[in-house]
């Protein structure tokens, strides 16, 4: 079992990295980029096969530690 967690900056938070990447894409000639948000991707390998229990504990960990709710949102996905 594996968990995938994607952490992204909240929309209201300044994201200078995203802005810089967006500008670079434009300079390179990639058209139509509306916005870029740079975040983090965490892949967590898990023991056992209780998806619900894993979801519960990782939601807690993501809220408490893996993301900072003041500035970030996260998405959690558990796969086989």
């Amino acid at each position: 079992m594996k968990a995938k967690i994607i952490v992204t900056p909240k929309k209201a938070v300044l994201d200078p990295q995203g802005k810089t990447v967006q500008t670079a894409l434009e300079h390179m000639g990639y058209r139509g980029v509306k916005a870029v948000h740079v975040g983090k991707y965490l892949e967590i390998e898990l023991e056992g096969d209780d998806k619900e229990a894993a979801r519960k504990s990782l939601n807690e960990a993501a809220h408490k530690f893996l993301s900072n709710p003041v500035i970030e949102d996260y998405k959690l996905e558990i796969i086989d």
Binding site: P9, L14, P16, T20, F65, N68, I71
Partner: protein, 236 residues
């Protein structure tokens, strides 16, 4: 007075903080991150650096260290805690101070002297700063852009918790005087109880004229005065 200066793996302003406190004739000792108590400390300094390599987020791992649980308890009991730079980041991650510090708006690491306007003398960290005095102190950070949501910011203002703002030499809060894009030029704040404060600039690196400025001493003098007052009150 006894100061405890925390030491995490990759703290790098810990010795500077100890040196600054001793310069004024007070005692300071380093406190390793695995310790469970702040002992007989009258005040705690969470120093600058890159605790735990700044992995995940600045301060995110340090806040779960055993010593931070002790600092939390110390703060809950009214103890004075000052976080400088990475220490400020640790205190926000720990929930001891509101808001968060994010990447500088220009993505650059800024290492320079800046000017600070003191917003209020009503705190143990600012009481002795002469009225109207603009402090010249260094900064050295890549993630010092203060952020709080609207509700949090309104609360900070209502409670007079903003202690320092980046300004020009005359005290004007201009955008060009803001080195990192911090919301409303915020450089340092305190908690609602006013016993925990954090700031991105380094007062401990500005306590001797030899270092280019001794304006940082006013912040230390304020802490000493607050501790003396506390001792007198305790003895009475």
């Amino acid at each position: 007075m006894n100061f405890a200066v925390l030491q995490f793996p990759a703290s790098n302003c810990d010795q500077d903080a100890v040196h600054a406190v001793r310069l004024f004739g007070h005692s300071a000792r380093l406190l390793w991150h695995k310790e469970n108590s702040v002992g007989d400390a009258d005040a705690v300094i969470v120093p600058g650096g890159f605790s735990y390599g700044d992995y995940l987020r600045c301060g995110a791992i340090a806040r779960f260290s055993p010593v931070m649980q002790a600092v939390k308890q110390f703060a809950d009991n009214g103890g004075l805690v000052l976080g400088v730079c990475n220490g400020f980041q640790v205190l926000t991650e720990a929930g001891l101070l509101p808001g968060a510090l994010i990447r500088n708006r220009d993505l650059q690491f800024h290492c320079e002297h800046i000017f600070l306007k003191t917003v209020t003398n009503n705190s143990p960290f600012t009481s002795q700063i002469p009225s109207g005095k603009i402090l010249r102190v260094p900064i050295a950070h890549g993630e010092g852009c203060y952020f709080a949501d609207e509700e949090m910011l309104a609360k900070l203002k209502a409670n007079n918790q903003i202690l320092w703002q980046y300004s020009d030499a005359s005290g004007n809060l201009t955008d060009s005087a803001n080195p990192n894009g911090a919301l409303q030029n915020i450089a340092g704040i305190c908690n609602e109880k006013r016993n925990v404060a954090g700031l991105m600039p380094h007062p401990e690196r500005a306590c001797e004229p030899l270092l280019g400025s001794d304006d940082g001493k006013w912040i230390f003098e304020s802490i000493f005065a607050a501790l003396e007052k506390k001792m007198v009150a305790k003895a009475a």
